[in-house]
């Protein structure tokens, strides 16, 4: 029987994480509390030492004396959730697909609850923007309605935030991300404050069965025979080298690289949340 995508125990774990408190950082939704993140809508008279760029000339004209805008602290922030929905996400079983959507919901849910904005980019589908905690169910529904992973890597043509947006981006993928996505990420990086690349790794990708295998690549259809009975050390070397290569590419972009092991068949739905919390993703 297909496991539930968002079972009750997942939300209990999510609630526990949410109770920790709001995160701080750049975002579009501001709360009126003193800070230095952005210019607020309140004014006060100019004092020696205030930056001239904070001068509000219209307010100065109205008041008859120099007025500056009061900077405010921003909380909640803007989060871009980019989901790789290619066939490599679920070569066998749906575990990684479910964990990707659960992690995406957790990141978006927490952002919305804290007053932020979540933008969902799933495969080559349209951008979906959610703002405010009331939109959490809509985000959940959108993630639940995503079609199964299929096809090759097809990042959206326009999936870039505007320059100057103090956003955080999180790319949820697998270790088989191809060049189109890397090009997008390279273009995305200058436009976001922080970019995290999360590679969800299946247990059988770390440790395939030690027998003769007839391999089939799910995206390009390539096939190959491989015997892991005597070749397991060679495979492990090649696998670690691949992951190291991906981490190096992420570092080259200035992105944070995070390897997250997807759960096994008996692991609960909240296992991905626990692992993400351990890695500091949530």
């Amino acid at each position: 029987m297909e496991p539930a995508l968002f079972p009750p125990e997942f939300f209990r774990a999510l609630e526990r994480i949410a109770r920790r408190g709001p995160e701080r950082g750049p975002g579009a939704a501001a709360r009126p509390r003193p800070g230095r993140s952005r210019m607020g809508y309140q004014h006060r008279p100019y004092a020696v030492g205030d930056e001239l760029r904070r001068m509000d000339w219209r307010a100065t004209a109205r008041a008859g004396r120099p007025q500056v805008r009061v900077p405010e602290e921003e909380v909640g922030g803007e989060h871009w959730l980019l989901l790789d929905r290619s066939a490599s996400l679920a070569p066998v079983g749906t575990r990684r697909d479910l964990d990707q959507r659960r992690l995406a919901l957790a990141l978006g849910w927490l952002a919305l609850e804290r007053g932020g904005v979540a933008t969902l980019v799933a495969g080559d589908g349209p951008l979906q923007r959610y703002e405010g905690s009331a939109r959490r169910p809509a985000l959940q529904a959108a993630l639940a309605a995503l079609p199964p992973p299929a096809g090759a890597d097809h990042p959206p043509a326009e999936a870039l935030p505007a320059h100057g947006t103090h956003a955080r981006a999180c790319f949820l993928s697998d270790p088989w991300c191809s060049e189109p996505w890397w090009r997008l990420l390279r273009a995305l990086r200058p436009r976001v404050e922080e970019l995290t690349i999360v590679a969800l790794i299946l247990p059988e990708e770390d440790d395939p069965p030690a027998e003769a295998l007839r391999l089939q690549a799910v995206e390009d259809g390539g096939q190959r025979l491989a015997d892991l009975r005597g070749g397991r050390p060679a495979f492990r070397r090649a696998w670690r080298a691949r992951l190291a290569g991906l981490a190096a590419r992420a570092a080259e972009l200035g992105a944070r690289w995070c390897e997250l092991r997807s759960g096994g068949p008996l692991d609960p739905a909240s296992a991905v949340l626990q692992r993400a919390e351990e890695r500091g993703l949530v």
């Binding site: 003769a212 391999l215 690549a217 799910v218 025979l225 491989a226 495979f235 090649a238 080298a241």
Partner: protein, 389 residues
Amino acid sequence: MFEQPAWLALAVLALPWLWWSRRRAPRDWRVGGLQPFEELPARGGAQRRVPPSAWVGLVAILLAVAGLARPRAGGASAVIVWDRSLSAGGPQLEAALQAAANEFRARQGVAVKVVEVGGPGAPAAEQELMQACRLHAAAAWLVLTDRPAPLGLPHGVVWPEFPGPAANAAILQVFPDQDGSGLWVVWEQWNREGALELVADGGDRVVLEPSDPAGGGPQRTLVQLEHGAELRLVTRDGGPPDDRPQDDVWFVPPRVSSVRLPPAAHADWDLAVEALWPGAEVVRAGEADLRVEFGTAESGPRRLVLRRDPFATGDEAAAVARVAETARALLLPPAPRARSECRPDDERATWPADVELAGTWAGRVLGRALAGLGGLLYLLAIVLRRFGA
């Protein structure tokens, strides 16, 4: 071919081993990409279903099973210990023992060594039979005797039981009276009462009355019967007293009255004749060859021809023994019978715990070598399988 063939049943383990070791067809496996697998050997397509490691393991299993079953490495791995004493005689018992021996030989399928214990004049009890088993190493022993099987028989010893008669009567000894008054007959009966009769083959009969009917033990009776006769114990009505006839008969050799020697016979003959047959006359007459003629009082002369004069060697004692041995069957009285051979005895001995039987050494060593080699080959098979061979 094997000392313990029951172990060969373990050879069926070879079947699940071959099934488990077979090389299965490559398993279909979907992956996100092929790059990490490019350095691996592209095997698994047209390979043999049964890899070399499976055959090595099969040989290992068969060797180990053969080692456990202990192949026969030559020599007698089966021994028959045959009791030839008086108590194990008698036509009926001998036929049963022979049948048991034939069955044992057929079952073993290899050459069987026969060790005889005891003789007509040499008693044999459980101790002698157990000792014979210990002295002759084998994988299987068959003990043929009238004695009951001891308790605690070790593995490999077959001791069939042939229950003897519960009651018995026997002639233990017959010897002439020193005064010449007749023959003393020493006899005894167990688990039976009443008088018996002694019948000579000439027809003479003598009643043997137990001196103490309630007591027991050997009885001595002086009888007036002829020498050179066969004496037989019977009941008062003429039937056999028991089912063990071999100890109911006694042959009384004829008395030697004279010994006629060639003229050139050694002078020591006179002393020897006096020692063996007191009162016999030595006569030197006749032809030159060594033809010794024993004259008897009850029958005609008995002649023996010796190839050479035994007294000419100079060893007088050996010469006397040589003459006695040659003339034993004809003229000398048989040795007394042991009461243990005649007494019905259903008490069971106990096999001493410290008497160990030695199996066939060669078979044991070969078995261990095969089992060890099988173990090493099995480890090799596991290693080969680990590396995909």
